[in-house]
């Protein structure tokens, strides 16, 4: 911080000329060019494509794409399957994200407390699932859930984890399994960065570990929790790999189970303009939701 303000003060007198122009360009241009080509351009392209409709001259005429205004968006809003999928992932997120982050927080606090021995081992053990790609984790759990191949067949032959009513929560378990350790580690690093003196003082005042955790540690690591929450919300709305894999284990997962699956199915029809409109709506919804969450937590922190 101080170094930065010193630099600002020093730079002020010769503000009019930018020094090291060539070097700055050298540093920034490679990323900026790729970002423009593979982030900004696709976003623009998706919006452009979503404004087109296909028209034909008569039944056997050649299909031509013409400007159709917001026609595709109207179709998206009338598309019940799409909104059912949005509702499904919102329900999923409302349950899975708090459960996952709650577990991550509890484990991080336990790791940070003097109650636990063998921290190094636990930290690694909990983190290992993060190294398993979503597709692989889904394949693995697909077998673990299966009524006859599972090592827990005593349980899975009695209770159907892959039925239409349960499969959403079975997928939630796969996602939780992969990401608890990762989120725990982010919260744990934030805990380690806290100054130890505060806890000394609290302990001298007679606070026990639970009180310290609840009234001091959790509020102080709230920014880290917010960060993990935002990434989890984004991840939830984008759910794709796990349900797509589960389609080969059960018929309970429809081709429009999540919004991204709906985009994929629609583009395969092929109806790319409608799929592009769905993509745009989904990206906007994701953006709005994570932004709203950020503002909400900030306001709460300020008041």
């Amino acid at each position: 911080m101080t170094a930065e303000s010193v630099a600002v003060a020093r730079a002020k007198p010769r503000r009019s000329t930018v020094k090291h122009k060539g070097s700055i360009a050298f540093f920034i241009v490679p990323f900026a060019a790729l970002f423009a080509a593979f982030y900004l351009l696709p976003i623009g392209w998706a919006i452009y494509q979503s404004l087109l409709v296909v028209e034909r001259d008569g039944t056997f005429g050649k299909p031509v794409e013409v400007f159709g205004g917001l026609t595709q968006y109207l179709l998206v809003f009338q598309n019940q399957e799409f909104w059912a999928s949005v509702g499904r992932v919102l329900l999923f997120g409302a349950v899975q994200v708090p459960v996952m982050l709650g577990a991550a927080l509890v484990l991080a606090l336990l790791l940070d407390s003097p109650l636990v021995k063998g921290k190094k081992f636990f930290r690694l053990a909990f983190f290992v699932p993060y190294a398993v790609p979503g597709v692989i984790a889904a394949i693995m759990w697909g077998y673990l859930y299966s009524p006859n191949l599972s090592p827990f067949s005593a349980l899975t032959s009695e209770f159907d984890f892959l039925s239409p009513t349960t499969v959403l929560w079975s997928i939630a378990n796969v996602v939780t399994w992969v990401y608890v350790g990762y989120n725990m580690l982010i919260i744990y690093s934030a805990l380690l960065a806290l100054p130890q003196e505060i806890f000394e003082a609290a302990r001298l005042d007679g606070a026990n570990q639970w009180q310290i955790a609840w009234s001091i540690k959790i509020p102080l690591v709230a920014p880290a929790i917010t960060l993990t929450a935002i990434f989890s919300i984004i991840g939830t709305l984008q759910l794709l790999a796990e349900p797509q894999v589960f389609r080969s284990f059960t018929s309970s997962v429809s081709s429009t189970f999540t919004p991204n699956l709906a985009v994929y199915a629609t583009s395969a029809v092929p109806n790319v303009s409608l799929a592009a409109a769905m993509s745009v709506v989904l990206a906007l919804a994701t953006f709005a939701l994570s932004f709203a969450f950020l503002k909400f937590t900030q306001r709460k922190a300020d008041s």
Partner: protein, 295 residues
């Protein structure tokens, strides 16, 4: 040992030891149960990889039968002209070189945003930050449409090039560069006559190492795990990353039952490189992981 820990915790109140013991037992039970939850599935995957096809369904699922791991691997590698090895190499190529280039570009950009003052600096940073919130999957379909304009879908580049871009990497690099590269050092290098670019590669890059390892690892994982983009872009099996290949095998299990063994061993082998990467580099990335959330 117990004594030492208790004194270090400094329980000031009398009667605390009893409460302590109960708390400690409860804490260790939670940790133990969690360990089982996280590791048993991977243990099962390992055990299943060591079994022959006949014993896979017929023997206890969580303990060894005849140790067939190496024969299974040999069969897997031989199946379909070694397509599995091809997939693994593809994944390593997509993720390894993609993350390497991506980290380099993100580091240079984040460094410039942190260390130089120029018009448009805040604008660039805010646009990049907005990019962090744009989910990569939302880009997959429009990327396909753009690449098909150039007849470039179903190519190595159609998956490789978009994976290089890491807005979150730029964000991390900027935070870390302003915290760990002192301006005085840059001034000193300038007085010595070193060029800006040389200073970056010779001095600043070293100071930013923990952040760079973190960016590299997380981008490596992101590319290794990426599924939607290759699913949409690729039709040629020879270009598949291992995730897409295993997904395709798994969806064929009902038609070709013997493929199931390959799916399981393939899944097990595919997670080993990532676990090794994380374990061997952990002293770097654990420091870097906190950097993103402190701000």
């Amino acid at each position: 040992m117990t004594q030492a820990v208790t004194t270090k915790a400094g329980a000031p109140k009398q009667g605390a030891p009893k409460e302590k013991l109960a708390s400690r037992t409860a804490a260790m039970i939670v940790m133990g149960v969690s360990t089982l939850y996280f590791l048993v599935p991977i243990w099962w995957l390992f055990i299943s990889s060591t079994k022959s096809r006949e014993q896979f369904g017929s023997t206890g699922a969580l303990w060894f039968a005849d140790f067939n791991l190496f024969k299974n691997i040999a069969d897997l590698v031989a199946y379909n002209d070694g397509v599995y090895l091809k997939w693994m190499l593809n994944s390593i190529l997509y993720a390894g070189s993609g993350a390497l280039l991506g980290t380099l570009f993100a580091a240079m950009c984040g460094y410039a945003l942190a260390k130089y003052r120029f018009p448009g600096r805040e604008l660039i940073f805010n646009v990049v930050l907005g990019g962090v919130l744009v989910p990569a999957t939302a880009l997959a379909l429009p990327l396909f449409l753009i690449f098909s304009q150039f007849n470039a879908t179903n190519t190595f580049w159609s998956v490789f090039l978009p994976s290089i871009v890491s807005p979150f990497g730029v964000y991390l690099a900027r935070i870390f560069a302003s915290a760990s590269v002192p301006d005085e050092l840059l001034e000193a290098a300038r007085l010595d006559g070193a060029s800006e670019v040389r200073t970056f590669f010779a001095v600043s890059r070293r100071l930013m190492t923990p952040a760079l390892v973190t960016i590299f690892l997380f981008q490596f994982v992101a590319i290794w795990n990426n599924f939607f983009l290759p699913l949409i872009m690729l039709r040629d099996q020879a270009l598949f990353p291992v995730t897409l290949g295993l997904y395709q095998w798994n969806s064929q299990v009902n038609q070709i039952p013997e493929i199931r063994t390959f799916v399981i061993i393939g899944a097990f082998l595919s997670i080993i490189p990532l676990i090794i990467a994380f374990l061997s580099l952990q002293r770097f990335w654990r420091g870097g992981l906190g950097a993103g959330s402190v701000k």
